[in-house]
Amino acid sequence: MIIHISNSASHSLPGPEDIHREVLSNGITVLTRSNFNSPSVSISGYIQTGSLFDPDEKLGLADFAASALMRGTVKYSFDELYNDLESVGASLGFDAGLHTTSFSGRALAEDLSLLLGLLSEILRQPTFPKVEVEKLRHQLLTGLAIRAQDTADMADLAFDKTLFRNHPYSRPEDGDPETVKAITRADLVKYHKQNFGPRGMAIAIVGAVEPERAVDLVKHALLSWKNPAQPEVPPVPNPKPLTAAANRHHKITGKSQADIVIGSYGPRRKDDDYMAASLGNSVLGQFGMMGRIGESVREKSGLAYYAYSSLSAGVGPGSWTVSAGVNPGNVKKATELIVKELKRFVVDGVTKEELTDSKANFIGRLPLSLESNGGVANALLTIERYDLGLDYYRRYPNIVNAVKQDDVVAVARKYIDPERLVIATAGP
């Protein structure tokens, strides 16, 4: 090896001395990190309202509201707002999740002030114009009609519905055609008025801007925002344990591929065993070409183009799933292979070598995942949302390396019972 490596970026991982964090008096947390390598900035953030407490009969309300935010405000029409953004090559978008409504955007550094001004206007003064709401409703309903034809989406929905019975997590965030039809303009106005507020809001700004200036711009745009009516964030109920295996098939005729989702509960992001589960998941269905699942279902059997496992860990109870897309005639065979791998995973755990490999991968890939402004902005928000500490990415190698083989097998057994799996499929 003769390549000389320069040390230009040895401190490239974000840490306490280059992340600036400040909490404004109205409850907004601002996180910034400068990067002058490119003349652009990324912003990313969230406010504390989401689809979790949508009424059943108006499911999709938070999602509808997030999509409608940019359809018109007190100062701007829909077209004027996008004209300001698009004319300078900037972007901004909103998306409702279960617990939060998030936003992200990007602009040339010279246009950051414009971007934050629009963000403030959109968050605080949307008008939900009637004509625009109806246009948007058609678009959302078409989206749901397309979703109904998507075998992967429908298998995921069937999985959540079965695993999280009677829990708010069982419901699709974007609602159903009937519930989206039931949402009125008045619902949107009321939802915004009650739930949007600065308390618990976080915003990360990363790119070609000094931290002081970024904070000043946020203050200028959002410090005067108040909403005394903003409700406290309610706790997430615990789901019922799985007492038996459960299968569910969602039929979609005329499709050449079926999708399978198999799994159970998983940890919360803040749980102590999250990292052990995450490393275990890597061995199971991520590492290299999709881990053991990929090896079994794709490489050895040639049954699928994709077959992998994932851990979905957030504020509330998570899920741990294996997904694959296969020919409808191979659903049974692929399911058997996946269940066999899950059994092996909980009985034998992972080998020392496999664990070492995944640890190396987790640590080694950090520079790549934190390369772009957008990547760093998301990392700062993760730190904030889950209280990980500004030194998290500096401590990260130690956190990863502390996980032992026994920890992995313990967390696998805690969440995955091969006799009590949810198996959801969608396809012909």
Partner: protein
């Protein structure tokens, strides 16, 4: 060397492009071969893509599992793509681990095994990939449109190939294809990132220059004759959503008219994103077609764009038809907008706006090493890296008259194909 770029050719014909960028401790390495689906004839459609898959199945030095494991352990990202004109393989690694990628790429340029058993299993993986594509109405529609647009040129078929050919091609067919096209004189290596050029070039010579050159591979090129009328195709399938797609024949990326066409695209449908990784994402809600079609409720979704190809390919406009409209109404609204750019000069202001958007997209693309390395070799596949570097400069020279001329010349109904996806009915619950 104001842009830190070095371009050179090794004695075996391998072109090497290196660009030092010291913004992050990463290096991205791309190996490009001038072979893609346009080099295929039946019964071997899809063979280039299948060969790309087999390039992950190992050499005597690097068995499949070892390759995979080595890259993942080092925290790298790697993948490959097959397109109409080219096949490419990339690795983005922490800078101090890039040597692995170079050794691996040099090795599989020459020594891939193409084991029979591995081939049989990979064949079904690719068939499964095709079945997944067939689940998507837009894939089915695109496939039908592309074959209607190209009767003679081998852009006729989809990159993934036809099922009949995927089922019958053999390991030996693949190996022959590999040996024909994977020669250094048919390849380009492009690296960008945190390295020193001199040392990197020396290492590349050490690893790649001993690979023997082969015969210059043939390039299949049967020019598509001018079409003598509009073609309409329909595809039926499940669902309840109607899709409409109109495609126009446009010149190759290296043709001067490609640039005013890019400006026209930006005005019609919003700025196309040139960034393969990590960039772009400017919305199109104030574009002419959005205002005329989506805002006026003829469509609920819109996308459009072209590809940077070696030979003339297509400019394509895809619309998700509004549930309250018939596809003919939506098409008529589209035609009215096309006629508008053919009848009246666009304003200089609109062109300036398109340039600012392109400038922003370029800036976004520079915060990603993988994207910057991608462009080194990619531009070489259809023009040269200079095409990319001078792109903004060329845009700035476009005048309203240029836009009018290309709109009239290329957006003629006689040279287009219009396709409609007709859903066969609502799903019964």
């Amino acid at each position: 060397m104001p842009n830190n770029l070095t371009k050179t050719k090794l004695s075996n014909g391998l072109t090497v492009l290196l660009k030092e960028i010291h913004s992050a401790p990463l290096i991205s390495s791309w190996a490009w071969y001038r072979v893609g689906s346009r080099d295929e004839v039946p019964p071997l459609t899809g063979i280039s893509h299948l060969v790309e898959h087999m390039q992950f199945k190992g050499t005597p030095n690097y068995p499949a599992s070892l390759m995979e494991r080595a890259v993942a352990r080092d925290g790298g990202m790697w993948n490959a793509f097959t397109f109409l004109d080219w096949t490419t393989f990339f690795e983005t690694m922490p800078a101090d681990k890039i040597d692995l990628a170079l050794r691996l790429e040099a090795d599989r340029m020459l020594n891939s095994i193409f084991d029979e058993k591995e081939f049989l299993s990979e064949r079904t993986v690719v068939i499964s990939e095709r079945e997944g594509n067939e689940n998507e109405p837009m894939f089915l529609l695109n496939e039908a449109i592309q074959q209607a647009a190209f009767r003679v040129h081998s852009y006729h078929h989809e990159v993934i190939g036809d099922l009949a050919d995927l089922k019958t091609m053999t390991r030996d067919d693949l190996y022959r294809h590999y040996k024909t096209y994977y020669v250094p004189n048919n390849a380009v290596i492009g690296l960008a990132g945190d390295f020193e050029t001199e040392a990197m070039l020396a290492r590349i010579r050490e690893l790649f220059e001993s690979i023997p050159a082969g015969a210059t591979p043939p390039r299949l090129a049967r020019p598509e004759p001018e079409s003598r009328g509009e073609t309409r195709v329909t595809v039926e399938g499940p669902g309840e959503t109607v899709y409409l797609e109109a495609v126009y024949h446009i010149p190759a990326a290296s043709h001067p008219d490609f640039i005013p066409l890019s400006v026209l695209d930006s005005l019609l449908a919003g700025p196309s994103n040139l960034n393969m990784f990590g960039g772009g994402g400017i919305s199109n809600k104030t574009s002419r077609l959005y205002r005329a079609l989506v805002d006026k409720e003829f469509a609920v979704g819109l996308s459009a764009g072209s590809n940077t190809t070696v030979d003339p390919f297509l400019y394509s406009i895809s619309l998700t038809v509004h549930p309250g409209r018939k596809p003919e109404e939506t098409l008529a609204a589209l035609d009215a907008e096309i006629e508008r750019v053919q009848d009246k000069l666009v304003s200089r202001q609109e062109i300036k706006r398109a340039i600012k958007q392109a400038r922003a997209n370029f800036a976004y693309g520079t915060d990603n090493i993988t994207n910057q390395a991608f462009w080194l070799g990619h531009a070489e596949m259809f023009a040269s890296y200079d095409w990319f570097e001078s792109y903004l400069e060329k845009l700035e020279k476009v005048t309203p008259k240029d836009v009018l001329r290309v709109a009239r010349q290329y957006f003629r109904p006689q040279s287009r194909v219009v396709g409609t996806y007709i859903p066969t009915g609502k799903e019964k619950k």
